[in-house]
């Protein structure tokens, strides 16, 4: 009986040690967005544990700094965020409340992915709040360009290799595979969207500028009067004119925005409104970076073709 108990005890001990040793090897990562989490998972594989603060259906501009986010970041080895002031409202509070020296700015566990891409729409001249919710360092929605996803993946692979040199080969191998997969799909996505001649769109918010640059989509105007500022009736009338004068066929909005104004314009002009995920998890079908981009391209293709 005693021998049996000892065996069970030793088995549990072995299991515990195995589990803890596996856990100990994992790099504990907190990301601000689900796109970063998805790309990091592709690169880190089983060697990383990832938690994204923003959920895919949330607007990451307006997350609130919940204490539970501070606890997550307190236990993290690495913080990866989008930058360009996307998370300006809340990230500094979370970092401060986390009291984790490893993830503070300039530390090895702190990674701002915006340093690795070429920002678009950097405003010129002096800025003030009358211009709406402007981002002085450029538009932060660069995750929607597959080419930028490759740059993000490169930066993540470099960082993981630095923090966990033992598994560098795996990270590099995963990176190569990720780049291969993206490039394969990118050719296909471009082929499908290039077939469409009229790709003029109106957007609700300037979320899609990197996506449009990648696929040659022509943004004619925005429903928001200024970034983050809802439209006035006069502005809506101007957008309606823009739609009619430019033969615009599609209005695009992110899934976390209210459809009130896009639907109003749709009803007045007959233009189709397409609701797209701006991040992984933005719609149920968008479960990874690849499926999100596939969903976006398919929806655009269908919208342009049917209009």
């Amino acid at each position: 009986m005693k021998k049996k108990s000892l065996t069970i005890y030793l088995s549990f001990l072995f299991l515990f040690l195995t589990v803890t040793s596996v856990q100990a090897k994992n790099i504990n990562i907190v990301t601000t967005t689900t796109d970063i989490a998805s790309i990091t998972k592709e690169i880190g594989g089983n060697f990383v544990s990832i938690d994204s603060i923003a959920k895919g259906g949330q607007d990451p501009h307006y997350i609130q700094a919940k204490p539970s986010y501070m606890v997550k970041l307190n236990r993290a080895d690495l913080l990866i965020y989008q930058g360009l002031q996307l998370e300006i409202e809340w990230l500094s509070l979370v970092i401060e409340g986390a009291r984790n020296p490893k993830v503070r700015p300039l530390q090895p566990g702190h990674l701002d992915l915006s340093s690795f891409i070429e920002p678009l729409e950097i405003p010129i001249g002096d800025l003030d709040r009358s211009m709406g919710h402007v981002h002085p360092q450029g538009n932060p929605h660069y995750n929607l360009s597959p080419s930028n996803a490759i740059k993000m993946a490169n930066a993540i692979a470099d960082k993981l290799s630095l923090l966990d040199q033992e598994n560098e080969i795996t990270y590099r191998k995963n990176l190569d595979q990720f780049v291969l997969n993206i490039n394969d799909r990118l050719s296909n996505w471009k082929f499908r969207l290039n077939k469409i001649s009229n790709k003029k769109v109106i957007v609700f918010h300037r979320t899609w500028i990197y996506l449009f640059a990648e696929f040659g989509i022509d943004q004619i105007g925005t429903i928001e009067k200024l970034p983050g500022v809802p439209p006035t009736p006069i502005h809506l009338a101007k957008v309606k004119n823009l739609i009619e004068q430019n033969d615009v066929r599609v209005i695009i909005q992110a899934s976390y925005y209210d459809s009130e104004f896009p639907n109003l314009l749709s009803s007045k002009t007959g233009v189709k409104t397409v609701v797209l995920p701006a991040f992984v998890g933005g719609v149920p079908e968008a479960t990874s970076y690849f499926s999100t981009m596939e969903y976006v391209v398919t929806e655009l293709e269908n919208a342009f073709s049917s209009s």
């Binding site: 949330q58 204490p67 009291r99 020296p101």
Partner: protein
Amino acid sequence: MKLFGLLFFLMGFFYPSIQSHAISDGKTHKDIKQLEQRIKKLESERKRNSHSNNISTATGLSRSFNPAISLHGLLLGTYNSEGNDNSSQSYKTGLSVEELELQLAGNVDTWFRVHSTFSMEGTETFGLEELVGSGLITNNLSLQVGKLFVPIGKHNQLHTHSQPFVATPVSNEMVLGEDGLKEIGFGANYLLPFPFFSEINLQILEGENEDLFASTVNDGFAYLTRSANSFDLSDETTMAANLAYAFGDNSLSGPYRTTEVLGVDIRFKHKPLGREGYRTTVWQSEFLSSTREQIKTGFYTYLQQQFAKHWWAQGRYSHSYQQSDRSDQNQYSLALSYFPSEFLETKLEYTHLNQYAADENQLFLRLNFTLGAHKGHNY
């Protein structure tokens, strides 16, 4: 060599005509012109910025390391049914600059960060409201020093611009005094290694508050301990429960020489995920009690609902009780707020104050604005 020179000459001569033939589409030509103009503008902007930055080396005047500066303005219109012949009335009928708050925040160096608030109540008195230096000592442990908003209850930690109602809860006025509990001191915050947020605060305070402490001896400090806890009940609902206890010498002698203060607050916040995320609901309650010769107690409870993207409706009940004269106050408030953006708010509030003296009916219309770089508020 001569041949190359000739080719260059011919290219220069023919280039404009080649260009004009190649670009037959007038729109494309116009686009290129616009792009060229934009590039020129960018280049001149870059030169101008680089020039102005370089000058700072000689003048010693650089704006690169300035702290983040913000100014909060609170402009108030008040109607009060009582006390209009009394100039010291708390909320008297008229128009006023309720408060201006000037905030400066930034990193002093790699280790130390400072956040300061200067406030001007009305248009004349300007003073230091808050000055907090903080630093991270090691994992989970941070220190704070300066003039602090003492963390007893939730309301006492809020700057005027972030308080949900214009009228201060009578419970806070009764227990902590009209200006609340702000003390010079230092303290430590430790984040406990629990699966939920749990923090312990310990503070040593000068104890200057005349309603509570104000010891006659120089070493009569006040001491605070606080446990702050927060739990996510779901991705959309969070509950916070905090308990604070402070004690310190006061100006009395004998059995009353020590004041004790207790604060308990609880808060539920529901914020839906997704496009309905603005439909936030907050329920918050707070109980305060102090002993300084006599027991004073009070509580408030309020409910806030963001019913549209830029609109909040809210109601609060607050009660206070003072043992000596067995007098109590009941305060009822209703408010409607409109936020065109996170930097501007207009609030209309009605408060009914039921008390031993004549009941008061107060009506407030407040404009609350934020100018400059101001970071978000804690959850």
